[in-house]
């Protein structure tokens, strides 16, 4: 029988991108834009995708990794201020098991010609699970990306 417990976690991340807030916002507000970076990478097949980006709208992303792990993201948007702020809540499932419920806030702030993105997330992580499938595959992705970046570094040296 599953041992019931909840771990709460809050974290913030900040990035600056060299493009204006309209462009960064579009990468969250359009399916085409969001799929380009959110949906995973090599080794993940999109099984189901729904994207209704508006206050009260919902988003779903179900993907299957090459090792068979299925991840499911279900979100509901609560606050949408174009080019300024997005607040949504979501649950994550791993092979059908609910592993976390989170509240995410994305803020877009002009920074010179670019954009400062602030992400704040508070999650309830359930029964000792974390986002293991995605982490493993994200790591593989990162290895490749890092390899490419190291290659560039050498080429530029």
């Amino acid at each position: 029988m599953t041992e019931r417990n909840v771990t709460h976690g809050t974290f913030s991340l900040e990035r600056t991108y060299e493009v204006p807030p309209s462009r960064v916002y579009a990468a969250f507000a359009t399916l085409e834009g969001k799929a380009a970076w959110f949906d995973g990478g090599e080794g993940r097949t999109v099984v189901e995708r729904a994207f209704d980006f508006r206050e009260g709208g919902t988003e779903r992303a179900v993907g299957r990794w090459d090792n068979g792990t299925v991840t499911q993201f279900d979100a509901r948007y609560f606050d949408v201020v174009p080019e300024a702020r997005i607040v949504y809540a979501y649950e994550m499932r791993l092979n059908g098991v609910k592993i976390s419920v989170s509240l995410a806030t994305i803020e877009f702030k002009p920074a010179g010609k670019g954009t400062r993105l602030l992400l704040t997330e508070t999650g309830a992580f359930l029964d000792g699970y974390d986002d293991a499938g995605s982490r493993e595959h994200g790591t593989n992705f990162l290895m490749d990306r890092m390899g490419a970046s190291l290659g560039r570094e050498l080429a530029g040296a």
Binding site: F11, L13, R15, Y17, E18, V19, S22, R23, V24, A26, A27, T30, E32, G33, A36, W37, F38, G41, L117, L119, E121, D131, S134, R135, G138, T139, F141, L142, M143, R145, M146, L150
Partner: protein, 117 residues
Amino acid sequence: MNGPTPDLDRVFHALADPGRRTMLERLAGGPATVSDLARPLSMSLPAVVQHLAVLEASGLVTSRKQGRVRTCQIAPGSLQRAEQWISERRTTWERRLDRLGGYLARQTPETENGSSS
């Protein structure tokens, strides 16, 4: 000990000292003699030699002696395992935001309305 993959404990130990990091920063620019390395540091030559021994044991630095001069150089790719270890600890969101940055950079700026051709 002098295999191609330096032990992670030794690497992080080597990196844990500001003097050794200064030496590495110098060597990242190109090979240097021991006295080159000692010059900007307020450190005796024997102390620099000791730090160098730690750096060599970690696999981050190699050195060879020609006549009376010991020349040191950073081992190519030696920091990669440390970088890899740190990268593996990055969260899902950090990786996503990296990917977002890549996506935004790849988008062609001439498409003013944000749509791609």
